[in-house]
């Protein structure tokens, strides 16, 4: 009963927001409605559902998922490397931060020049957005490894590699998932930014096209879809975390927390 209530609460809040949105948008009776009512957005969604389902959403999700996969591998790799060598960490960390400050608009022509018009530039943008939270969170997780556990293993004669595999990496996993959750939140938006550079299909292209036609209601469709897709991705990551780290969510630990994890 308690978990049902907990699951329904955000849904109720969302519904309330939609209702308020509908009322406010309908109250704006001027000719040029800046924010379209949800009913019009839904109508635009239904009208273009075919291209959305067969072209735009698959395109954006492909870019997102491939980008996330590469970002995960890259993020973990970087975290491992920087954990391995403190010198490297001091040298490379600022570069990581700088990578996040490059405006996509400036990067756009470079991406096209290097990768051309395929899916690659969009995947690169997703990777750029997503690898950072994963890398940083994993590095923090590795750094926060319980020194007593490391000392214990060292006393038992474990090699550096064994310590890494048995203690450091597993104890960094919760942090990794934390970073992955953040990355998942931004990933779809990242794909759309990538498509804004140039794209044949995708929610970003759909948005641009609706924008150019002055079709405000249609322009809100990808915004809503992006939110839904991002929420779905975060939920997936949370599920994966639950499955991968059952030991993290033991009842003993849960008893000590105020709220058991995110869901």
């Amino acid at each position: 009963m308690k978990s049902l209530y907990r699951a329904l609460l955000p849904v109720a809040v969302l519904l309330l927001t939609v209702v308020i949105w509908q009322v406010l948008a309908n109250a704006d009776t001027s000719h040029a409605r800046v924010i379209p009512p949800p009913s019009e957005v839904l109508e635009a969604l239904i009208r273009t559902r075919e291209t959305l389902l067969t072209r735009h959403i698959p395109q954006t999700m492909t870019e997102t998922l491939i980008g996330m996969a590469i970002a995960l591998a890259l993020g973990v790799l970087i975290a491992a490397l920087l954990d391995f060598s403190p010198l490297l960490k001091r040298a490379v960390y600022p570069l990581l931060v700088i990578s996040q400050t490059i405006p996509i608009v400036a990067l756009a022509p470079v991406l096209i020049l290097i990768f051309g018009f395929g899916i690659e530039p969009k995947v690169v943008v997703v990777v750029l957005f997503c690898f950072f939270p994963i890398a940083v969170a994993t590095i923090d997780g590795l750094t926060a490894t319980d020194p007593d556990l490391v000392a214990l293993l060292r006393a038992m004669g474990a090699s550096r590699q064994q310590i890494w595999r048995k203690v450091r990496m597993p104890s960094a996993l919760p942090s990794l998932f934390s970073g992955l959750r953040i990355a998942a939140t931004y990933s779809v938006t990242g794909a759309i930014f990538g498509e804004y550079v140039t794209s044949q299909y995708g929610l970003g292209q759909y948005l641009r096209s609706a924008f150019s036609s002055g079709n405000v209601a249609q322009a809100f469709v990808p915004i809503v879809l992006t939110s839904l897709l991002s929420i779905g991705l975060v939920a997936l990551v949370a599920l994966a975390e639950r499955l991968a780290l059952p030991w993290f969510y033991t009842t003993a630990r849960e008893a000590h927390w105020e709220e058991p994890g995110i869901y």
């Binding site: 001027s30 000719h31 409605r33 022509p109 550079v197 641009r208």
Partner: protein
């Protein structure tokens, strides 16, 4: 091939004749339909093919609209295939078309004379190979109910929604000067490419620069009553210029002229078809870009059809005076440092029917 072309011409003439009677046409349209009996293809009956099967990219300037009819028609009707070309139409985005074409990532692109002039002035090696629309079909527009526009004098003191181009100020200066006023009191508000109509409705801006053929018709369909000051009505004050146009880079012209010729001529065939069958051309555009509003595309295609070629001897033909005049205008108004070499900026040599 020849018979097919004659049939098209005959059908086209009949259509134009019928169209002239049937529609309540505005002055621009009537004049253009009467004059557009010249063959858009310059009398050519055979068209160039690339020496070997080639894949090319053509990058658009804006999301697909009726300015691009010829390209989509050529794609749909297999004109590019006839020319031994596989064409990929690349969507626009946060990149400059001229830059991408100059590097060769896209072999062709849709650009504007303003952009092309600036690029050439910065030594970006792009060349215009066809004028998609003969005369400027853009103008300054305001809501009739708020700010009726009868002459450029009415623009004085208004808020202008700028999209950040260096050409806006010289244009407004010249226009208002012509009407004996000054553009000093016109307030520039940068709106980028935000949808201008709601902004005008809410008085955030008073007037804006639009293409009549697309945005003008769209506004009318959405119920906005706009007053337009069409730039081509003021060619005594401001230069007429080619917008949009087809560009390629100097490298392509030097090393792959067969590909350039094949592409331009196939595209010309596409525009020739769009001129004579705007409704069917609109359908082809809609099939390729199904998210567009069919009503807008159809009405826009019909309005634009006679504008593509207008009174020129063939579609795509460019004149040096237009390039020179525009460059001189920009220099005179301080928006360009030195004149560009007009002859080097464009060429008609790849159009069907020879030089």
């Amino acid at each position: 091939m020849k018979n097919w072309l004659i049939l098209i011409l005959a059908a086209g003439l009949l259509l134009i004749g019928a169209a002239g009677q049937a529609q309540a046409v505005g002055p621009l349209q009537a004049q253009a339909t009467a004059a557009a009996t010249a063959d858009p293809l310059g009398g050519a009956t055979s068209f160039a093919k690339a020496d070997k099967a080639t894949s090319v990219n053509v990058m658009l300037d804006y999301t697909p609209n009726t300015n691009h009819l010829g390209i989509y028609v050529a794609q749909a009707m297999g004109f590019y295939k006839d020319a031994n070309l596989t064409v990929a139409i690349q969507q626009p985005g946060d990149v400059q078309v001229e830059q991408i074409v100059a590097t060769g990532k896209a072999q062709f692109g849709v650009s504007y004379e303003e952009q092309a002039t600036y690029s050439r002035a910065s030594n970006v090696p792009i060349v215009s190979v066809a004028a998609i629309i003969q005369h400027n079909t853009s103008g300054f527009a305001a809501l009739h109910d708020k700010h009726p526009l009868k002459s450029p004098a009415d623009l004085v003191g208004l808020k202008y929604g700028s999209f950040g181009s260096p050409i806006e100020k010289p244009m407004l200066d010249a226009l208002t000067r012509c009407a004996g006023k000054s553009a000093e009191t016109i307030q520039f508000i940068d709106i980028g490419f935000t949808e201008p109509l709601p902004l005008m409705d809410k008085d955030r801006i008073d007037f804006v620069w639009l293409f009549y053929g697309w945005d003008g018709i769209r506004a009318a369909q959405q119920g906005y009553k706009l007053d337009f000051l069409m730039l081509k009505d003021y060619t005594n004050c401001v230069p007429d210029y080619y917008t949009p146009l087809l560009i390629t880079n100097e490298d392509m012209i030097k090393n792959q002229p067969d590909v350039v010729r094949a592409f331009v001529q196939a595209t010309a065939r596409g525009y020739a078809y769009a001129i004579q069958h705007p409704d069917e051309a609109a359908d082809m555009l809609l099939k390729a870009a199904p998210d567009l509003d069919p009503k807008l595309v159809k009405e826009s295609a019909v309005w634009l059809a006679p504008q593509f070629q207008a009174e020129a001897p063939r579609w795509g033909e460019q004149r040096a005076e237009i390039w020179q005049g525009f460059s001189e205008f920009m220099v005179k108004n301080g928006a360009l440092k030195t004149n560009i070499d007009a002859q080097a900026a464009f060429t008609n040599e790849f159009l069907p029917g020879g030089k």
